[in-house]
């Protein structure tokens, strides 16, 4: 059956994991992704890796964007990657954001974070990067 809305909209879950207490940045990114035509699920502040992964599975997102400003990225991202595997969901593209030193960026990429977008990345670049990552991935 044909309907007028037969198209795939990119789904992105954006989460803030850790203790830092403001979400101005991720809200700007969320708006930009919406304006780029994506469905953005925003889950709020202070989420745990478990909460984020469960939400990503239930929402069937293409991309999981996790922002960390608290400095705990080297424990949180490996934890998220591990949980994605446990839930057979490591096809979900993991994108990191926040304040992360260069050395750690290299290490996180090796671990399986698809892309790291540092705090000053222009929102439009974030949208373009996400679209590219999803386009390159195998269909699902």
């Amino acid at each position: 059956m044909e309907t007028t809305e037969a198209k795939n909209i990119i789904r992105v879950l954006i989460a803030k994991v850790g203790l830092d207490g403001h979400d101005r940045g991720v809200k700007i990114v969320a708006r930009c992704l919406r304006d780029a035509g994506m469905d953005v699920i925003y889950t709020g502040l202070h989420r745990t890796p478990e909460e984020v992964v469960h939400a990503a599975v239930q929402e069937d997102v293409d991309v999981l964007g996790v922002s960390i400003l608290s400095g705990a990225h080297m424990t949180i991202f490996p934890k998220i990657i591990e949980l994605l595997r446990q839930n057979q969901a490591d096809d979900i593209i993991l994108v990191g954001g926040g304040v992360i030193p260069d050395d750690d960026v290299a290490e996180l990429r090796k671990l399986g974070v698809a892309e790291i977008l540092l705090q000053d990345t222009p929102p439009q670049t974030v949208a373009d990067t996400i679209r590219d990552l999803v386009t390159q991935r195998a269909p699902r």
Binding site: T4, D35, A36, G37, Y42, G44, E51, A55, E59, R140
Partner: protein, 330 residues
């Protein structure tokens, strides 16, 4: 749990192969099939058809009310209360799509975190994608799918509504209308259309000092509306809730269950089920027709328009010819 025979991560699994995993309540399978239903892809129709045979068991509860009235917060607490009775719970939470980009920000999950990680709770956010009645077109499919997957209760949270967005009436068995103090000058914030559709009224945020006034006004409006109460075997209750210590939530759950019992004893449940089924049929038929018209726009439709322009045929006749053409074709 690992029911997915093929690995959903590495290949495109045909929707029909997701049916069994959905029935076994595999979260990835459920989530993926909802996505496909949302995309309107014809490929998933046979799978949804197979699943429909397994529906009809869930208690479907709609929750509506103006933006910011506290629907998501209440659902979070209700889910906790329902889990304590041993029931499994699913939530479909709808938010509006941007009419400009077609994208959306779905924020209901911000308030729904108490049971994240519980395998017997499934929460799904959904954008309206241009649908106007307060739900998305795929909301019904998602509810059916979750029903088939064996969730005992399925809640639908509508977008924050005005008075016309009441499609939820034809999607759920029990309708809860949530109002909050301080959202309008007075009870007018509970728009006329919303007043009438409620099976249960909730005034949320009753920790606020102005809540008593809202409750009082709502109660007097309901008593004034004699018709509304005479029509029903079920007198419409007004409950007060608060997110502080989940006040009133247990009572709300019990009221929802009593309403369900009342529907069963009066037999009204049959009418409600029928009205949901009817809506499903008509909405799907409409979507189908819209799709067909779009498909033939440059061909058959265009040719008919030319004939109308030349006054060979009138618009009404052209429309009938167009539809007759579809019938012979399918």
């Amino acid at each position: 749990m690992l029911f997915v025979i093929k690995d959903i991560r590495t290949i495109v699994i045909p929707s029909t192969e997701l049916v069994e995993p959905v029935l076994a309540r595999n979260p990835r399978a459920i989530a993926r099939l909802i996505t496909r239903a949302e995309s309107g892809d014809a490929e998933c129709r046979p799978a949804l058809e197979a699943l429909y045979a397994h529906t009809g068991r869930a208690q479907v509860v709609g929750m509506t009310g103006v933006a910011g009235s506290g629907k998501s917060t209440l659902l979070d607490m209700l889910t906790v209360a329902a889990r304590k009775t041993g029931r499994t719970v699913a939530v479909v939470a709808v938010d509006p799509s941007s009419p400009y980009s077609g994208g959306s920000i779905l924020g209901d999950r911000i308030r729904m975190n108490q049971l994240s990680g519980d395998p017997d709770v499934f929460i799904r956010s959904m954008a309206t994608r241009g649908a106007l009645g307060g739900l998305a077109r795929a909301t019904h499919d998602a509810v059916d799918l979750l029903d088939a997957a064996g969730f005992d209760m399925v809640f639908i949270e509508t977008v924050g509504v005005g008075q016309d967005e009441v499609d939820v009436v034809r999607a759920a068995h029990t309708i809860i209308v949530v109002s909050a103090p301080g959202l309008g000058d007075d009870i007018q914030a509970i728009k006329a259309g919303l007043l009438e559709i409620a099976d249960v009224h909730v005034v949320s945020k009753c920790d606020r000092s102005d809540a008593a006034k809202t409750i009082k006004e709502l109660r007097s409006m309901l008593t004034l509306d004699v018709d509304l109460n005479r029509k029903r075997a079920w007198p419409i209750p007004v409950l007060a809730t608060s997110s502080e210590e989940a006040q009133g939530v247990q009572e709300l759950l019990e009221t929802i269950d009593r309403h369900r019992e009342s529907l069963e004893t009066t037999g009204e449940i049959v009418q409600r089920r029928r009205s949901i089924a009817e809506t499903r049929v008509l909405q799907t038929a409409e979507a189908f027709l819209r799709g067909e018209f779009a498909k033939h726009r440059d061909g058959r439709v265009s040719a008919l328009v030319e004939r109308v322009m030349a006054r060979e045929i009138d618009p009404h006749g052209a429309a009938q010819e167009l539809i007759a053409g579809l019938q012979t074709e399918n």
